[in-house]
Amino acid sequence: MARRKPAGDSDDPEQQHDRVFHALADRTRRRLLAALAERPGTVSELAAPFSMSLPAVSKHIKVLERAGLVVRTVDGRLHRCSLGAAPLQQVAAWLDPYRQFWTDTLDSLARYAEQEEDEP
């Protein structure tokens, strides 16, 4: 079993960042990632729920692969894809200030609204 180095891989963190966000800025690719989060699969298995051609899905998977979001292992003629989680952590870190902002703002709304409910 051989692990392929992702095509176009580069050590530049900014370029890596761009590739991750570009890869995520597409509904089909996000659905592919959601499927991979459930379980690894072959390209044809992944393509099955989509009403698009195998080459079209394969192209989306390549974009994800370049971003490091998909890791492909080759076992004989079988290409199996699995989720590459590390770049997702990067995205989570990016979104963290937004998440904190909203979580905290909703806490504040709860304090305000629940206090009013308690004091009719």
Binding site: H17, F21, L24, A25, D26, R27, V91, W94, L95, P97, Y98, R99, Q100, F101, W102, T103, D104, T105, L106, D107, S108, L109, A110, R111, Y112, A113, E114, E116, E117
Partner: protein, 143 residues
Amino acid sequence: MTDSITLTVRRTIRASAARLFEAWTTPAMLKQWWGPQGVECSDAAVDLRVGGHYHLDNRLPSGEVLRIEGEFEVIEPPHTLVYSWRLGPGGSAERVTVRFEVCEGGTEVSIVHERIATEPARDQHEHGWLGCLDGLVTLLEAG
């Protein structure tokens, strides 16, 4: 247009959907609760109709005021609000959907924040959001 990064946050609050909808759309009430701890809502204006403009001024602990503003796209009281969201001058248009759904124990408030721009977001953080949240963390840890 390409859709970009989306964030979803949920919270159950022990109050009616109508009450929460009102709190979310009434300036006098927004001034009392809006924003994370440490941020004061120094001014709020809401023109509650489709296409109507709103703004929320957020005074950070540093004294800097950041204005969030946009226009309403969908208004369905007391369950749904959709509006554009721009942070600071020249901020790119993001979109926020707020839903108030009756659930066990009160109302589930869900926020879907879409079209989070990856480049301007970094500038926003440099302008103080992040600093304000860092301050918050310090505050919580100290308490």
